[in-house]
């Protein structure tokens, strides 16, 4: 079995003077301390990438900086799904007997380490360099295309999407490490400046600095008994121009594989950690996977279903939309919060009776999907 035995994070936000390596080290130390392990106990290390620190072998850079000599180490790249993909590979390594304790760590000074234009241009490269990027496309533009079509096809409204931003911000207000904690209203979301219509500023996640880590172990440690029960992936396209069926982007295929791996049903999930780079991302994922009906995410938010006391508590750390997005660490934060919830250590965000968590990461433009089922044991 693979247990998420320790987690740790820096605060997310604009942290002047921060570096990718410094943020990684701080998060890794916190995760190891949480797991009650020493650096010498770590025999596997997985990381992702940092746009502010491109490197051909980031995992060993982190290992050396941190002072460990793992038996297995390399980086992964699956865009926003990288964090959950790292946890999935850690589970595979631990289950196979290859490793006893795998450190997964993601960090980037994405906000303070580059200009806003640099960040927007770098991320736009998720699009096709020859057939998309030249049109002045940006990540919000790709998701703006998603939003316009999805709203048209299923009857989703601007207000439905705005509801999700309001919920994420309310959750972030309860997390001391969140980037954006000031409450926002539905009207403020609707009145925020246009970015790539129909998406407005408050439909979009911020660019943050931050670091986050977890330790996946073969044996449970004293601090938390949360195991990875199952995982799955799906990859149907890279570029939004090439996505064929917009009602079937791969999210459900990925979720179904994770549920089958876990031997569980969707209805058994009682804590949700779902990627939310934009409000439309969250709506589409929740609806395609089947947690709510098509065009039902907004009404579910209005009904309070995603609140801490709701029947589908969702991203209680505030998600990418408000906890913040520092790249790979943005998507890993969903998993870390799920671990804290299932371990009963989410402080005043604690969901009662959270025992089975569903985690979903999305990379690119609904391109790479990784899903995971966590369980308190």
């Amino acid at each position: 079995m693979a247990f998420i035995s320790g987690v740790g994070n820096t605060r997310y936000g604009k942290i002047e003077g921060s570096t990718t390596m410094g943020l990684a080290a701080t998060a890794a130390q916190a995760a190891l301390a949480d797991a009650g392990l020493e650096p010498r106990d770590i025999d596997g290390l997985l990381t992702g990438y940092a746009t502010t620190m491109p490197h051909i072998m980031l995992a060993t850079v982190i290992a050396e900086r941190f002072g460990i000599r793992p038996a297995y180490a390399h980086a992964l790249q699956a865009g926003g799904a990288t964090g959950v993909a790292m946890a999935m590979l850690a589970k595979i390594l631990v289950d196979s007997g290859r490793c006893r304790a795998v450190l997964i760590v993601a960090a980037e000074n994405r906000a303070s380490g580059q200009s806003r234009d640099q960040s927007i241009q770098t991320l736009a490269q998720a699009g096709h360099p020859d057939y998309e990027v030249p049109y002045g496309a940006t990540i919000p533009a790709y998701y703006g295309l998603l939003a316009a079509r999805y709203m048209h096809q299923f009857g989703v409204t601007d207000r439905d999407l705005a509801e999700l931003a309001v919920v994420m911000r309310r959750h972030a207000g309860r997390h001391p490490d969140a980037h954006l904690r000031t409450p926002i209203s539905l009207d403020e979301v609707m009145a925020s400046k246009p970015i790539a219509l129909p998406l407005r500023l408050l439909d979009c996640c911020p660019v943050s600095d931050g670091g986050i880590a977890a330790v996946i172990t073969r044996d449970p440690t004293a601090s938390a008994r949360v195991r990875i029960r199952g995982a799955g992936q799906a990859h149907f396209h890279q570029h939004i121009s090439c996505a064929r069926d917009w009602a079937d982007m791969g999210a459900k295929a990925s979720a179904d594989r994770a549920l089958a791996d876990a031997g569980m049903q969707l209805a058994e999930m009682n804590y949700l950690a779902v990627y939310d780079s934009f409000t439309i991302t969250l709506a589409m994922l929740l609806e395609e996977i089947g947690f709510v009906r098509r065009a039902g995410a907004g009404e579910a938010a209005r009904a309070g279903r995603f609140e801490i006391g709701g029947d589908l508590p969702l991203n209680t750390h505030g998600g990418l939309l408000s906890f913040g997005h520092c790249g790979v660490g943005g998507g890993l934060a969903h998993l870390v919060e799920a671990q804290r919830q299932l371990a009963g250590r989410a402080d005043d965000r604690q969901v009662r009776n959270a025992t089975v968590g569903f985690v979903h990461g999305d990379g690119g433009v609904m391109s790479s999907h990784v899903s995971m089922v966590l369980e308190r044991v």
Binding site: D117, I120, Q121, A124, H128, P129, D130, Y131, E132, V133, P134, Y135, G136, A137, T138, P140, A141, G144, L145, L146, A147, A148, R149, H152, K193, P194, I195, A196, L197, P198, L199, I240, S241, C242
Partner: protein
């Protein structure tokens, strides 16, 4: 980031943009199985055949989705903002990204025009 015409490493892409500069939207058709595809790749993604030929599209189609970009990626493109990026289903059965009249909606019938954007000529769809 708008210099891909000159800087693209892909000769197929360079040829395609050279076509656009002359008012021609190319797409590929497989000589073996007849499948039409975009973007051009030099092989058929349906059957794997390397016998694909580039044909010029009529330039007519339907808006599949459209977004209006108010925040461009660079200062160089700021003078063009706001601009609309659309996915257009061409009548030949392929989908491509291009610019479009921001007033257009999903489902609108469109025809291609060619305009300057940044340092290159791009396709911009307007009401047919």
């Amino acid at each position: 980031m708008t210099q891909a015409t000159a800087s693209s490493a892909d000769p197929i892409a360079r040829d395609w943009w050279a076509g656009v500069a002359e008012g021609r939207i190319g797409y590929e058709v497989c000589a073996d199985c007849g499948t039409a595809q975009f973007y051009p790749r030099g092989h058929c993604t349906a059957c794997g055949s390397a016998r694909v030929e580039v044909r010029p599209a009529a330039g007519t189609g339907t808006i599949f989705s459209i977004t209006v970009v108010h925040r461009p990626p660079s200062a160089a493109l700021q003078p063009f903002a706001p601009y609309a990026i659309a996915l257009v289903d061409l009548d030949e059965g392929v989908r491509l990204m291009a610019h479009a009249d921001p007033a257009l909606g999903i489902g609108a019938r469109v025809r291609a025009t060619f305009v300057t954007f940044g340092d290159r000529t791009i396709t911009r769809f307007v009401a047919a």
